[in-house]
Structures are given as C-alpha cells and as structure tokens.
C-alpha cells in the first residue's frame, strides 16, 4: 500500500510539474509542445533522479553510521562541491563542463579527505570520526568558499550564489543522460548492500558473526554513496555554467 501511495504521489507530482508553469500550454497541445518536451519534462525527470539518488545515498549513510540524522551533506560533500564550483567560477575556467567537473572534483576531494580521516583510528571506518571529519571538512570548505566569494567581482558573486543555491533551471536531456549513465552502478552496489546494512543495524560485531564483511561493507557503501551524492550534486549545474551578462 505504501508503494502504491508513493507511486501515486510521484505521478501526481510529475503531472503537476509538466502541466503547470509560467507559460500556458493548452492541454490539446501538450504532446506537441517544445516547452513541455525540452524544458519541463527533462527538468522533472532530472529532479526525480537527483532526489532519488540523494535519498538512496542518505539512507545508506544513515545505515552505515547508524544514525538517523546522517545525510550526504553531513559528510562534507556539499562543502567540497561548492568550493570546487566557486573556484571554477572565480578562475573563469572555460568550457561548459568546467563547473560541474570542478564541483565533482571538489566533492570527491572532500570525500577522500573524510575517508582518510575516518581511517585514523585504525583500519576500520569509525562512524563517529567519519561524522566529525565530515563536519570539519564541510566547515573548512565553506570557510574557503566564503573567503573566495567575499573577494569576487559582482558577476562572479551572482554566479557563485546561483550555483550554491542550486536549481534545475538548466536541466536538459543531456544532463538526464549523464546521471542515467553514472548513477546505476553506485545504486546497484547500494541495493546489493541492503541486507548486510540491515545486519549492521544490530552492531558491527553481530553483523560480522552473521556473515557480513563489515570492513569491506563500510568502505564500499561509503564510496558508493559519496560518488552518487557527488554526481547528484554536480549534475543539475551541468548547463548552468555559461552565464552571460550584457
């Protein structure tokens, strides 16, 4: 029943996203309208995919650190992605892929740093160190981002804030394709880890006794969830990197 309601909510949301908007598209012209096919549909599909990716990543991380407050942004990824994007804007890196790539690199860099910090206690990823490391890396990245933004020119400032606030205004089928190619692998890995993650809820030692390879599980889930978040974070910005002002 829960899934039926969720599917109904999804369909209702999708219909609203397609049929409502600033421009009036008559119902009779919906199927032939470029506004619907080129703007509203890719935007709705991308929002659905990014939301789903962040949700899957979040639930995996909550299971990993055994804390319902955990989310992908608590582990420093958003701070790293924001820093990467702001650096790309400040340095005027050319090309349509510069900004999303910089955001992705920033997120992966933050992930690697937090991962390394998580190993400080030994060979195991300690959830407590992981969370604290994530908060510290995120705060540091946010501080550097603020410093760059405060020194930026007006145009860069506007672009940086637009990126940091996020949005799907630049969604296109290209963006949808990128996330469709990228997301399935980490999603499959996370789905395959569902049962061992359930076991992990009992504690690391019981999970180990029940057959889960806890050490490997933690690494694989952390990396998959992080890479999924990094892509979900960078993808919506794919086309929004060419801001012209007259």
């Amino acid at each position: 029943m829960k899934y039926v309601l969720l599917a109904a909510a999804l369909l209702a949301t999708l219909a609203a996203a397609l049929l409502l908007g600033p421009a009036n598209v008559p119902l009779g012209e919906v199927l032939a309208s470029p506004i619907l096919w080129q703007l509203r549909l890719p935007r709705a599909v991308l929002a659905f995919l990014v939301g789903g990716a962040l949700g899957a990543s979040g639930v995996a991380l909550q299971a990993l650190v055994r804390n319902p407050l955990a989310d992908p942004f608590l582990l420093g990824l958003s701070g790293g992605a924001g820093l990467g994007a702001v650096v790309a804007i400040a340095l005027h890196l050319p090309g349509p892929w510069a900004l999303p790539l910089a955001a992705f690199v920033g997120a992966v860099g933050a992930m690697a740093l937090v991962y390394r910090l998580g190993l400080i206690g030994g060979a195991e990823l300690d959830p407590r160190i992981l969370l604290l490391g994530g908060v510290a890396v995120g705060a540091f990245a946010a501080a550097v981002t603020t410093a760059i933004v405060s020194l930026a020119e007006a145009t860069e400032l506007r672009n940086a804030f637009l990126w940091l606030w996020g949005g799907f205004s630049g969604a296109s089928w290209t963006t949808v394709l990128v996330i469709l190619v990228y997301a399935p692998l980490p999603l499959i890995v996370l789905a395959a880890a569902a049962r061992p993650l359930d076991l992990l809820a009992l504690g690391e030692e019981p999970a180990q006794y029940l057959g889960a390879d806890v050490r490997r599980l933690k690494r694989v889930v952390y990396l998959s969830a992080s890479l999924l978040t990094a892509a979900a974070w960078a993808c919506p910005s794919l086309p929004s990197c060419c801001v012209d002002g007259a």
Partner: protein, 129 residues
C-alpha cells in the same frame, strides 16, 4: 528625435526580445529606453506588457511569446554563450540564430545619438530576412 517620433514607424510585425541576462533570464519591459527605442524603430517588444523597465522571466515564457529576434547588446557579432545551451534551444529565435547584435555604445544608453540608434535598428530589422 522628435521628428523620428512624429513619423509613424514603418509598419512591421517584427517582434523582438531584449535579453540582458540569461541566468535567471532578465528581459527589458515597458518604461525602459530600449523598449521605447524598439517601438520607434517599428518593432514590438514581446515584453512590452511588463510595466517595469526590466523583469526576471522564465525561458518558457520567452519561448511562448516567440519573438522573431533576440536583441543582444554587444560589440561583437558572436552569438551569446547561452545560445548553445539545450534549454535555450526551445526559443525559436535562439534556435534559428536570429540575433540582432546592437553595439553597446550606440544602444546602451539614451543620448544625442538616440535617433541614429533608431535608424540603425530600423535598417537592421528591414535588412533581416
């Protein structure tokens, strides 16, 4: 300027949009110098009904109003970078590269050369296919 204003502009059904910023899209509305200039040149600003001099709109609103031309204040004849972005291809004038490149020095601000700007815009509208 007065003589130009008193002359009825060449009857034209040409419509245009002034896009001054692309993300978020900001266009020129009524009450701005450029809107008046377009009217005197015989073109219809598709956002003339917007009472403020400029306004933030959505790409789909621009697409729905379907201007014949996109007027760009620039000293070069290179299409703006947003023209290559997929979401902007929904605007017919962007898709078909119907840009009016208007030099900023002549069109950017009101001044003694306003009459020259109107003549130039008229000439470009008439010359455009």
């Amino acid at each position: 300027m007065d003589s130009l204003a008193s002359q009825p502009p060449t009857p034209s059904t040409r419509s245009l949009v002034f896009i001054v910023w692309d993300n978020p899209p900001i266009v020129i509305g009524a009450g701005s110098y450029l809107d008046r200039l377009a009217a005197l040149a015989g073109a219809r600003n598709v956002f003339h009904d917007v009472s403020s001099p400029s306004a933030q709109v959505s790409i789909e609103t621009i697409a729905a109003r379907d201007p014949d031309f996109v007027a760009v204040l620039t000293d070069s004849a290179v299409p703006p970078r947003y023209a290559t972005r997929p979401e902007w291809r929904v605007v017919r004038a962007v898709r078909t590269a119907r840009f009016l490149f208007l030099p900023g020095q002549l069109f950017g601000r009101p001044g003694p050369r306003a009459a020259e700007a109107i003549r130039e815009l008229r000439r470009r509208l008439e010359a455009a296919p």
